[in-house]
């Protein structure tokens, strides 16, 4: 059936819902574009023939045109939904992606991530006139000023707001300002301990 390959791309995304982003399927994208090129060529041929006087070719043109549009929709939806995931990554991983994750993005997607990152940073800086507001923080309503945390990985040195340096070593425990370690918790470096 027409536009099957394009649908494969969509199915690929459907299967990965909740999981990781699958590698950018460059081959399949190329195949879809190729199918589109062929469909278009045939249509042009039929259109020329019709102009030359041949009749009855209209139905075929319609079918192919529908297939072209369908391919376009699938392809764009594929890119669009990947972008949605990539955006989410900015919010969840932070401004630097783990290499294994980056590996599944194509070159342009990596660039897009960088540009989005910049766009977001510019916007956040511009909020409220002075200094801006980091929207990637404060994801949950604050209950306490300080939180008890355990360190899950060897992270190294971490400078607190008051200029102290704390060494975040695996399995050490700390009592820190919630506002300054929230992003470390979200990045899985610290675990928040509640009793």
């Amino acid at each position: 059936m027409l536009a099957e390959k394009a649908l494969d791309l969509i199915r690929e995304l459907e299967r990965s819902v909740g999981g990781s982003l699958p590698p950018y399927n460059e081959d399949r994208v190329r195949q879809v574009l190729e199918e589109m090129r062929v469909l278009c060529e045939q249509n042009q041929k039929d259109v020329s023939a019709t102009v030359a006087g041949e009749s009855g070719l209209f139905s075929g043109v319609q079918v192919r045109h529908a297939a072209l549009e369908r391919n376009k929709r699938c392809l764009l939806a594929y890119l669009y939904n990947r972008i949605e995931q990539i955006k989410k990554m900015r919010w969840e991983f932070g401004s630097v992606l783990p290499t294994e994750v980056k590996y599944n993005l194509c070159e342009q997607e990596v660039q897009w991530f960088g540009r989005y990152n910049k766009l977001l940073a510019n916007y956040m800086r511009s909020i409220g006139g002075c200094g801006g507001l980091d929207l990637t923080q404060d994801m949950k309503p604050p209950k306490t000023l300080y939180v008890e945390v355990r360190c899950l990985v060897d992270h190294g040195e971490f400078e607190t707001q008051d200029g102290n340096v704390i060494v975040l070593k695996k399995n050490s425990q700390h009592f820190l300002l919630r506002s300054e370690c929230e992003h470390l918790i979200r990045q899985g470096i610290l675990e928040h301990i509640v009793h």
């Binding site: 059936m1 027409l2 536009a3 649908l7 969509i10 199915r11 995304l13 459907e14 999981g19 990781s20 045939q42 039929d46 009855g56 070719l57 209209f58 139905s59 075929g60 319609q62 079918v63 192919r64 045109h65 529908a66 297939a67 549009e69 369908r70 929709r73 699938c74 764009l76 939806a77 669009y80 939904n81 989410k88 990554m89 919010w91 969840e92 991983f93 783990p98 294994e100 994750v101 949950k140 209950k143 939180v147 919630r178 929230e182 918790i185 979200r186 990045q187 899985g188 675990e191 928040h192 509640v194």
Partner: protein, 203 residues
């Protein structure tokens, strides 16, 4: 061909739902596209040929303006099935009738078939009848395998079920004061898990 606001151009579910098949009857010859019908080996699709098209294609070639093919109702929306659904919708395996039963059904209304009004009513009625059970099961299955509960559900119902589950879990977490806990982002956690699995497999 514009989409309604609810039918997001980029929506994965909508794209999949619009791929469901409808039986068509070719009414004008479609030249050099015989390969679309795998049961015949002719070069062209000739009038009278019966063929199943995906919805998106059927919609493009069968409308008031163009009538290249005639469209029939898929059997799961015909009267026989509608009767079964009206008898007791809750026992029907809707997923088997089409994973996008409601959304595909709604799309069929575009063809303005004589039975359209009845289909619309049947869809609403079916949903109403099944809704209570879905809500009930999603609110009362805590910490158990839900695949059995959802296997008969259409995709929209499944997502409804999962929203219900999410609500239930959030409520339980709130009740046991677990919502205070700041947590690792899902993506980071999943990434870690996969990485660990890869490491373990490598050993």
């Amino acid at each position: 061909m514009t989409l309604k606001a609810s039918e997001n151009y980029f929506d994965i579910d909508d794209i999949l739902a619009s791929n469901e098949r409808i039986p068509c009857r070719v009414e004008l010859p479609i030249y050099r596209l015989g390969y679309l019908d795998s049961s015949h080996e002719s070069e062209h699709l000739l009038p009278g040929t019966k063929i199943e098209f995906p919805y998106w294609l059927g919609r493009a070639v069968c409308s008031k303006k163009r009538h290249i093919v005639g469209v029939d109702l898929p059997k799961q929306y015909r009267e026989g099935y509608r009767e079964i659904l009206s008898a007791d919708a809750t026992v029907v395996d809707l997923h088997k009738l089409g994973p996008y039963y409601y959304s595909f059904g709604t799309k069929l209304l575009h063809f303005e078939h004589v039975a359209s009004a009845d289909i619309a009513k049947s869809l609403v009625k079916t949903f109403q009848n099944r809704f209570r059970k879905i809500m009930d099961s999603s609110q009362n299955a805590y910490n158990e395998d839900t695949s059995k509960l959802t296997e008969n559900l259409d995709e929209a119902e499944r997502s409804l079920f999962h929203s219900g589950q999410l609500g239930l879990h959030d409520f339980q977490r709130w009740e046991t004061r677990k919502t205070d806990k700041l947590t690792t982002s899902n993506m980071v956690r999943n990434h870690r898990k996969r990485k660990r699995n890869v490491l373990n497999d490598g050993q």
